[in-house]
Symmetry: C2
Subunit: 505 residues, 2 copies
Amino acid sequence: MTRSRRVRAAPTIPWLNQPFRHLTNPVTPLNWVTEDGLDKLHDASMRILEEVGMAFMDAEALSLWEKAGAKVDHAAQHVWIDRGLLLELVSHAPPTFTWHARHPDYSLTIGGNHINFAPTAGMPYVSDLRGGRRTGTLADYENFVKLAHTIPFLHFAGGPLVEPQDIPLSLRHLHRMRVMVHTTNKALRSVAHGRVIPEDIVAMLKLVFGDPLPGVVTGAVINVTSPLRLDDRMIGGIIRFARHRQALIITPFIMAGATSPITIPSALAQQNAEALAGIALAQLVNPGTPVVYGGFTQNVDMRSGSPAFSSPEGVWGTLAGAQLARRYHLPYRASGSLTNSPVPDAQAAYESQWALWPAILAHANVILHATGMLEAMLVASYEKFVMDAEALGMFHHLLHNFVINEETLAVHDIAEVGVGGHHFGSARTQANYKTAFYEPALTIRQSFEQWVSLGEQDTLHRAHQLWQDLLRAYEPPPLEQSIQEALDEFITRREGELEGVDLYA
Amino acid sequence: MTRSRRVRAAPTIPWLNQPFRHLTNPVTPLNWVTEDGLDKLHDASMRILEEVGMAFMDAEALSLWEKAGAKVDHAAQHVWIDRGLLLELVSHAPPTFTWHARHPDYSLTIGGNHINFAPTAGMPYVSDLRGGRRTGTLADYENFVKLAHTIPFLHFAGGPLVEPQDIPLSLRHLHRMRVMVHTTNKALRSVAHGRVIPEDIVAMLKLVFGDPLPGVVTGAVINVTSPLRLDDRMIGGIIRFARHRQALIITPFIMAGATSPITIPSALAQQNAEALAGIALAQLVNPGTPVVYGGFTQNVDMRSGSPAFSSPEGVWGTLAGAQLARRYHLPYRASGSLTNSPVPDAQAAYESQWALWPAILAHANVILHATGMLEAMLVASYEKFVMDAEALGMFHHLLHNFVINEETLAVHDIAEVGVGGHHFGSARTQANYKTAFYEPALTIRQSFEQWVSLGEQDTLHRAHQLWQDLLRAYEPPPLEQSIQEALDEFITRREGELEGVDLYA
C-alpha cells in the first residue's frame, strides 16, 4: 500500500520493491514423528498432568482449577488435571483467529497454513558494527520498530524487541507502546506480566483501536517456568489477557538435561503438559480465548550449561511441537534467528537457518525472533536483523511463486533458441528479468575482481550499510491527532502513578 | 573402525568421537510439485527431445543413436529421440547400486533413501585465512583429501576437490589418483573427460581394487552444456565409463534466464530432457550402467550475469529435480555448500544452508560439494570446509537419533525431579550427558564474558584452528606395498607418455 512512496525514498534497496504479503505454505507439513509416536507423546503428557501435576503459584488460578473440578493442594499451590477436563478446556481455543493491525491490510490470520514473521523480542542488549555491544535504550527500541515496519517481509513490527534500559522498569510498557503506535501500523505484540501491565496495555490499545476492541489487537508470550511451574507473574498475564480476549502464546522454555530429562521425547512430553495446562487455564478464565501453542524445546549444552540455540535436538522440538499443536487444532509458534553466537558471523548465520527452516517446514503460524538475535536471546543486533531478513525474503519468494503451466514451461522458447544458444536476449527474458527472480539486498553475486574493486566488503559490513539505508527509507504511517493526544495523556498520567512502583508485588 | 586411534590422536575435536555412519532419511521426501505438475514437466521434456532434439557432438554417439532408431542428422550432429525409445533405455539404469570403497565399511549405497556427502570438487583456487586466495596445488589437493578422510561425516574423500595447477593438465588425473589412493580408503570420485582419462582411471583402479573390478569403484560428473548439447569430451566420458560400468552423474548445468528460458518450470523441463538424454546414451552403450540423475538448476543473477548460488529458485530446482529422478527410479544428485560469497562469512553460511536443507529434504542420494565451496565454484576454502562439515554432523545426528519409547519418554524422571527442580544431577543425565546431544566442534555456546576472555574468536578464526587440528589428527590408512608399487609404476610410465599431450584432441 505504501509501496510507491517507499520505492522513491530508497530506490536502491531491492526488498522495498516487494509488497507486504500474507504468506501461506503451499506444501504439507513435515511430520517427523509417526502417529504412534505422537500418541505416546500425548499419553505421557497426560500422565504428567494427572500423576505429577503442576504448580500454579497464584490464588485466583488455584481457585479456578478447584471450581473446574481439578484436584488442588492450596498450601503447595499444586494442581492435578485429568485429561478429560484438560482436553475439554483446550477444545474451546479457536484453531484460527485474526490479529488486527492498525492498517487493515496488515491484519494477520493466525492458524491453518499461514506463516507470520515477527522480529526478535526482549533483548536486554543491542549491538552494531561501529557501536559495539551495549545496553538497549528507547532509541534502539524505536530503530528496531522502524526496521521491522520498513522491511516488507516482517508481519509484526510492534513488540518488545529491545529492553529500553534507560526507562525505569515500571514505565517501560508505557514508553514502548507510545513508540510502537507512533512508528508502525503493522501488528503489535506486547508483554503481559502480572496484572498491572496487561490492563495498561489493553487500556492504551482501546485508545488506538476503539472500545470495545475489534478483536485480537495484541498478544503476549507466556513462559512456563519449567519444570512444571506457572508463576504468579505469568498467571496474571494469562488471566488478564484472557478476560480481554487478547492472544496468549503459551511457551514452555525447556532445555533438555536441565529443565527436563535429557531425552527430547521426554522434554516434548513435558512441553506438551506445560503448554496445554497454560492454554487450559486461559480457556477456564474465558472460553474461546485465542491462544498459540508455543514450542521452545532445546537441549542444554553439556560443556557450558547454556541452552543450545540451535541444535538438531531443537529441530526435533520444532517439528514435533507443531505436530502436537495440530493434534489439538491450535496455532503454533516457533522461532527463527536463534543463535548462541556473540557476533553476526558464519555461526550466527548457519544456526539461524537451522531454526528457520524447520519452523517453515513445521508450518509454524507465528515465527517469533525471526530477525536480529545474537547470544542466545541477550542481544538484538542491527546487522543480524537484516541478515535474517534476507532469508525471510527468500522464503516469501519460495513459498508463493512456483507455477507450472504451458506459459511457464515455455517449450516454444527452448525451440526458438535451440542448441547452444542463450536466452539473455529472448523476448521472455527481456519482459521478465526485473521480477522473475528473488532479488536480494544483502547477498552479492559479483566476480572476485568486482568485489575487490568495490572494497572487499564482507556480509557484516554490507549489513551495516543496509540497516542504515533502511532506517533512512523509513516513513512513519499516519496517526490521528486525537489518538496521539489520548495516548499521551494516558501515558503521562500512568507515569506519575507507576514511577518506582513494583508492578509484581 | 579407526575410531579409538583417532580419539587418542586428537581428543579435543568432538567430531572424532563420532563413528563413520551410513545415513538414511527417516521421513518422506518433500514433494514441492504436484503429480499433475510433474506430468507436465515430464511431457514438456519429452516434447523437447522429440521436437527440438539435442546435439551429440561425437561420431560414435551419433552412430549409436542411429542404430537404436533415433532420427539423426550427422552433419548437424543432432538427434531427435522419441519418448518410447528414451524411456525404454532409461529403464535399464539400476535404481540402487553399491559404490565400493577400498575399506568395505566405507562402501556406499547409492539410491533409495540413502544420503551420501561428498566434498567440493574441481575448484581452481583455494583460500585460507592466513594464506589468502591462490591457485590450487597438489599439496592443497592432498590436504583436502586428508580433511575429507578425517571428518567422519563425509562419505566420499577422494575426488577432484582442487585443480592442482602446479601439475600439467595432461598429468593431473595421474597425480590426483596417486594422492587419493595413498591418502584415503573412503569412496573415490574421479573425472571422466574425453577417452584417455577414463581409461587411465579405470586402469589405475584395477591395480587398486583388482581386475575385474568388484563393481562400481568410481564415478564422474558429466555436465551437459546447456542448452541441449553434449560435447565430445563429455560423451567420451559417458561411453568409456559406461563400458567399464562405472558410475555417471549426469548433470545439466542450467541457469534460468541464460542457458534456459527465464522460468524455473521451463528450466526444469530442459534439465529433464538433457539429463535423461545423457542417461539414455549410457544405457545405449551398456544397459544397466549405474547412473545418477544430477540436478543443478539455478537462476542467473540479472544484475551480475553470474549464476545465483543459492536462491529460492535453486530450491525449487533441487526439490523438483528429485521428484523427476524418483519418477524414473533413478538415484539423485544435489549439492550442498553452494555460495556466491568470496569469503567464508555470514552469506557463505546462510547460502550453504539454503542448498543443503533442500538437498536433504529432497532425499538426494549423493550430495556433492557438501563442504568447502566459495565464489560459485571457483574456490575451495579450508575454513568453509569445516564450517560446512558442522552442518553435516548436525544432519547425521538429526536423521538417525530420534526414538520415542517408554525409556526415552522418562515420565518417571519427571515425577522424581518434580516441580521447579532441575535434571543436571539426575541419574539419567549423569549416565547420558556425554553422548545424548550432538556435540559441535566449531559452534560455541559460551557466555559473552567467557568468549571475551578466550580472545573473541569469531567463527572464521575458530575454523582456521579447527582445520589445522584436523590435519594434525589425520592418520593414513594402510595400503599394500604391492599396490603402491604397481600404481607408481603405471603413473611413471603414463607421465612419460602424456606429458604435453592434448588429451581431448
